[in-house]
Subunit: 354 residues, 2 copies
Amino acid sequence: MGGDHGLSVTVPASLSFLKQEAAAELVLVGPQELIEAELRKHKAENHPRIKVKNASEIVKMDDPIEVALRRKKDSSMRVAIQLVKDGEVHACVSAGNTGALMAISRYLLKTMPGVDRPAICAILPNQKNGPTYVLDLGANVDCEAEHLHQFALMGSALFANIEGNPHPKIGLLNVGTEAIKGNDVVKKAGDLLHIEHENGTLNFYGNAEGNDIFEGTCDVIVCDGFVGNVTLKSIEGLGRFVRNVLVTEFRSSLLNGLGALLAGKALKSIRQRLNPSRFNGACMLGLRGLVFKSHGSADAYAYECAIRRAHEAVRRDVLLRISTTMAELLQKSKEHHAVEKTNTENGIQEQETV
Amino acid sequence: MGGDHGLSVTVPASLSFLKQEAAAELVLVGPQELIEAELRKHKAENHPRIKVKNASEIVKMDDPIEVALRRKKDSSMRVAIQLVKDGEVHACVSAGNTGALMAISRYLLKTMPGVDRPAICAILPNQKNGPTYVLDLGANVDCEAEHLHQFALMGSALFANIEGNPHPKIGLLNVGTEAIKGNDVVKKAGDLLHIEHENGTLNFYGNAEGNDIFEGTCDVIVCDGFVGNVTLKSIEGLGRFVRNVLVTEFRSSLLNGLGALLAGKALKSIRQRLNPSRFNGACMLGLRGLVFKSHGSADAYAYECAIRRAHEAVRRDVLLRISTTMAELLQKSKEHHAVEKTNTENGIQEQETV
């Protein structure tokens, strides 16, 4: 029901997705009559792989989290996440209010062991033709160093399991590459990640800068949700700006129009490589269940990409794999800290003995 | 001397600038023999409008601020800023270490009345074919609400005086448009700016999001230096990525090559509109002197743009104008707060009397 367009986007996206994925099934959650009416428009009221689950309320894009969480107990968002919790579906996709989606997910599904705060992880394209995972993108506007540390562990586990690279390079988003750069939280997070690198838990690259996101310097880039959110939206804004400039300039004269026609293949390929819709569908990481967030302004193609991403995560059993990897990483990290502590205590003892 | 390329960029840029501006004069600061050797390469050792001012040391890009400030007292950076202070030049342009440039400027020039911390203000293009001023871009990685408040006043004064718009729209960079969004510092800054709007000191738009930078929703966008720096570098990174994709795809086949040839005018215009070099030269705002920061990686064209920007600021007497506007804004803001305070005190008195 969510996002800027609601059912007029989510229903066509669902139908298109099911056409591509012959084994997949979808449960559409929201006011039953509305969904059924929309399905009828597409002559799909009897689709064998669509179930409709009724929910009487809708979380609005500007509802405060408290309202979404405490007052609207029969919202489509909450009912959908409950289905994940009850094991009736494998994953939930929503284009709705991000804060509400995160709060309800956290409340119903709970976080994985070792995770204080879940994070939103998006995938961006880079110049090396690979993906750059960036988290957090808005779930946590105030972060401590320990949270950034956990985001690094989660991001590493996600990348390793989806991309099949057991030692992804982790960068810490900062205002410069030198270790002395940044505010206190980031500097402290850098120290924590450096320790993880030393003990072999993480492949920590060090500080990354904004441009590293697109240069593909790192596989995973970690930041707090305020910085991540502003950065992502700035990038999207520039993307739209560039697209508009391209379209305007190519249409500005007939000759250019002819040139553009001849350059058609290149333009199509450019559009394909730079299309932000392809990358729609951010993962809410650190929960005991799979929840994907589509952009609120997504069109049907972009929303279908988000469903596809959720489907891919289910197919690859990402949740179990991340839990396992996270447990291993945490165990390794703890063992190391225990050894360090023992060494320090022994050091003190020795000193005292001396 | 600074930046990634030093004299091989700054000298040609200076010569090209002087060719365009027949009345301008430049003082090049650094080790005299090195500068003279570079000038000889360009057959410009006797240029009538170039003076060379010797400085024996160079601040390196990775020098800690303390080293630049306390140990290298005869650095080209420090000598150049001293020239500004002594009134021997109207402005200083540097591509060197940003932290050092800011620290030395602040130490030698001091801040304007009412300004606790200077800020770096860059100008970005937007979809409305106008400029968006964004500050701070890295001078202050930890900010309080009061600093963001001052950035807004300074940005407003700069925009008003350069663009000739007395009531520029000021946006506060945040993760959402609603007033409840953001971390504590930003929420408090929003309250302060709202008061300035109510009393007519500022034209406060409210919260802006990353995409608003390019949509031209606001004339000036205010953020802390950490967010601003990461955002700017991300934008630059995406810009390079897009440019590379365009070039690669247009070169990828002969037909596309022909198409690109025909589309040449459009491509040239696109390059022109999106060329980040055009916007090189950020203003260090809030100092009692004009200092401009070029990108460290600037080529000769980009560095010339930074010199041009400084020249334009001198020509428009921006420093005096901003000081005057800032004094007026501060006076207005203070008067309002005094009235508010009296009202509150009277309110309390009345209550007590009752």
